[in-house]
Amino acid sequence: MLDVSDVEVYYGDAQALWEVSVRVEAAEVVSIVGSNGAGKSTLVAAIMGILPIRRGRIVFDGDDITEMAGHRVCRCGVAIVPEGRRLFPGLTVGDNLDLGAFNVAARPHQAESLQRVFALFPRLAQRATQLAGSLSGGEQQMLAIGRALMARPRLLLMDEPSLGLAPVIVDEVFEVIEAVRDAGVSVLLVEQNVARALEISSRAYLLSEGRIVMEGNASELAANPEIRRAVLGV
């Protein structure tokens, strides 16, 4: 479904990704793990069209989205849950969700999508008229996921959803990720919390200093001591 082939991305004139290739199939959770500065968020930004790709290709469901302008990628069925949530702080919960469906493909189904999101996140329905900036961390993460789901994506890019959240809340978030997958949406999960990420993924990639250094079955990787060596350097 998503095919990232030999992609090279520069941040300004610093090369951030070297020949990165990643694959995501339908209805699966794939994780990208690695320490900070490894390039995980850069990869997400490149897929969404926020950062330009200098070499390589990204194909999504048959469409080449390598060169596509940022605001058109969403139309094709890829939505983002950004690192740090990045909700629209001055707008209400309801507004944030409504705007998630802004792209032309999702807009006709806005009402139906909203019902589904509220069913998944009843707390958001209760807080529909509250300002997004006034929610707790966990609620904000739920809202960010809900906003992305409003875009009716076939692939969800999630960037560090556990960041800054208490362990109990992280549990809830990861349950939601599984529910999303069960509903038929693929998830490309970028996470610092390696253990959790591998728990719910079918496959995973380890990104280090801008390169894929390990990949394979999530359960195999979890049992592999090499992971610790790669991340901690000892």
């Binding site: 610093a14 610092q192 959790r196 901690l232």
Partner: protein, 631 residues
């Protein structure tokens, strides 16, 4: 900025001095003296504006305030009370300078006053001034003031000659001030402030002092120039003085001519004044603003850096075309007046400046060459760990509810190479910001050698011996690699002049292996080289503690090894280093001690092998597993 500038300034001065003599000999129409006086007035106003706004980047809409103070000082003291006109000029300049210092004290003290707000502040000042002038009967009272013709020395002949001489003196003075500033530490401080004020302050440049100097110069010259002009106005009124013409025209002239060069505003003044004059005279009066507007729009789109930058690339061609066009039309004599010939010659010169061709030194994306790296060899000599230098005691930092740091206590001692690590959001960069003085702690103490750092201005912390680099390099883009380092030396603990600083810069460039790129601009070297420049520049402040913030981000393995070798060399020279890093294999190789931060607190510290095997540290990096679930 070559030293041919001296010649240029001298030519201008000599040429102007010759004009009255020529006028007497050739019996010029006084029109030309008036015309040149106008150019000189605008030169002084624009140049003084540029000293503040062009050099330092603090954009001012308030030139009208300084001009107005000058005009009214002359009107009130000389016009109304009969004070000697020269004394009135001096008073006007001083009052205007006082106003400038007052504005600066308010605007520059407040950290929150970003460039945009400073501009709005300066927009408001002339309105306040105009109201005060109109209200107060001792000043204007709404009636306007008559300025009689002053007494001038007989040998000058006519009033116009006298006025021309006075204008010329002020004009040349303004050019001289700009010229001198550009070539001394004052100007260099302003360029650094313009390129990146926070970095400049961190390198030891006293930014407040230099901004005050530049606004004071702006005020002084603007006031003196306004006072002299008042002698030619005959009658001053609030509406005529405090309108938008002066503030806007000085901006247009400086932008047109170029804000980076002492002669830029003068060039702009020559062009605009000539153009306006010709349009008004030719009966195309209904077109003057249209032409001016179109030219402004085109120039901003096509040559935002100004004419001087273009002329500077092929000065002989431009000068030659200008001179030959002028002389050609003059000798032919079949059309127009001298000012017409001037206008055409100026136009021709401008066209030459716009011809495609050699693009000169400021290249945008382009040539990012891959230069050979000087790889350092050798075994690092073990360095003794000595006395404690930096002490952070329960340092905490809140950002409106977010606890970035919760009570961190850390000691950095002489000779150490401390690796500061931790997951995303653990507070590493915040700690670096606290130690370097970029941010004040919410609570806790920070000391260097026992001296309390909290509340100390950043440039003094730099002089005490703490330097830092930035993860994304922040060089001064308009200065060469060598000059980037030279700034740090010029404004170091012991101040140095430009030439001395440039020579000393070579030592630090060699330390990091950048010597062969000294004359390049930062935009022309690659990322790794810019990171090395960061280190060289920080080292040039002769620190005792160097804070490196993710100096390896974005490097390929060869560059990483080179950077590591450079860091070792720096360490060998006796500097204690704290480096924030994510590439843990490097940290393990390099560090004498590791401090692990997590969620704003110190999680562990000690020798690399031991710390990185600590279960708590492993959990922080790899994450705790969730409750067991079926696959």
């Amino acid at each position: 900025m070559s030293d041919r500038g001296w010649i240029g300034l001298l030519l201008v001065a000599v040429g102007l001095a010759a004009v009255p003599a020529l006028a007497a000999v050739f019996d010029f129409n006084s029109f030309y003296l008036v015309f040149l006086s106008g150019i000189l007035f605008w030169t002084a106003q624009s140049t003084s504006w540029n000293i503040l706004s062009g050099y330092s980047g603090y954009f001012s809409f308030g030139q009208g305030a300084f001009y107005g103070v000058g005009v009214y000082s002359m009107a009130v003291f000389f016009g109304r009370h009969g004070v000697d006109w020269l004394a009135a000029t001096v008073i006007g300049g001083l009052l205007s300078m006082l106003l400038a210092l007052a504005i600066g004290t308010i605007a520059f003290r407040l950290r929150s006053l970003r460039g945009e707000i400073f501009a709005l502040l300066t927009l408001a000042v002339p309105f306040i001034l105009a109201a005060v002038v109109r209200l107060s009967d001792t000043i204007d009272g709404g009636q306007g003031i008559i300025v009689p013709v002053p007494e001038y020395p007989d040998f000058l002949g006519s009033f116009q000659t006298f006025f021309f001489v006075a204008s010329a003196v002020v004009g040349v003075l303004s050019l001289a001030v700009a010229f001198v500033m550009e070539r001394t530490r004052y100007g260099w401080a302003l360029f650094a402030i313009r390129d990146d004020e926070a970095v400049a302050e961190g390198l030891g440049v006293p930014t407040f002092k230099h901004k005050m100097i530049s606004i004071a110069a702006n005020g002084l010259i603007g006031g003196v120039s306004g006072a002299v002009l008042a002698l030619n106005l005959g009658f001053v009124s609030v509406e005529g003085t405090f309108n938008l013409r002066v503030p806007l025209f000085v901006i247009v002239m400086s932008v047109l001519g170029g804000r980076n060069h002492w002669a830029g505003p003068m060039i702009g003044a020559i062009y605009i004044h000539t153009l306006q004059n010709r349009l008004a005279d030719s009966g195309f009066d209904g077109w003057s603003l249209i032409v001016l507007g179109v030219i402004l729009v085109l120039l901003v789109l096509l040559a935002p850096e100004g004419l001087m930058a273009r002329f500077g690339r092929r000065p002989w061609a431009v000068g030659g075309v200008f001179a030959s066009t002028l002389i050609g039309l003059g000798s032919w004599g079949g059309w127009g007046q001298p000012v017409d010939w001037l206008a055409v010659a100026l136009g021709a010169a401008a066209l030459v400046g716009f011809l495609p061709g050699r693009r000169g030194r400021e290249m945008a994306g382009g040539r990012r060459a891959h230069h050979a790296l000087e790889i350092f060899e050798g075994v690092p000599a073990p360095v003794e760990v000595g006395r404690p230098l930096v002490l952070a005691d329960e340092a905490a930092k809140d950002f409106g509810g977010v606890h970035a740091l919760r009570g961190v206590s850390v000691t950095i001692s002489q000779g150490e190479l401390v690796g500061l690590v931790g997951p995303n959001g653990s507070g590493k960069t915040t700690l670096v910001n606290l130690i370097s003085g970029a941010l004040p702690p919410t609570s806790g103490t920070l000391t260097l050698d026992g001296k309390d750092l909290v509340g100390m201005p950043q440039h003094r912390i730099a002089h005490l011996g703490i330097a830092r680099t930035y993860q994304i390099p922040r060089p001064f883009h308009s200065l060469t690699v060598r000059d980037n380092v030279a700034i740090a030396i010029m404004f170091g603990r012991v101040p140095h002049g430009l030439e001395v600083a440039r020579e000393a810069a070579d030592e630090f460039l060699s330390l990091v292996g950048l010597h062969h790129l000294s004359d390049q601009l930062p935009g022309q070297v690659n990322l790794h080289e810019r990171q090395l420049l960061e280190m060289a520049r920080a080292m040039a402040t002769r620190p005792v503690v160097l804070l490196l913030d993710e100096a390896l981000a974005g490097l390929n393995p060869v560059e990483v090894d080179n950077a590591v070798a450079v860091v070792r060399r720096i360490h060998d020279s006796g500097v204690a280093i704290v480096f924030v890093e994510h590439v843990l294999r490097v940290v393990n190789q390099l560090a004498t001690r590791i401090v692990v931060l997590d969620q704003g607190e110190v999680l562990a510290e000690g020798e690399p092998d031991i710390v990185m095997s600590d279960p708590a540290v492993i959990r922080a990096y790899l994450g705790k597993e969730g409750h067991a679930r079926r696959q």
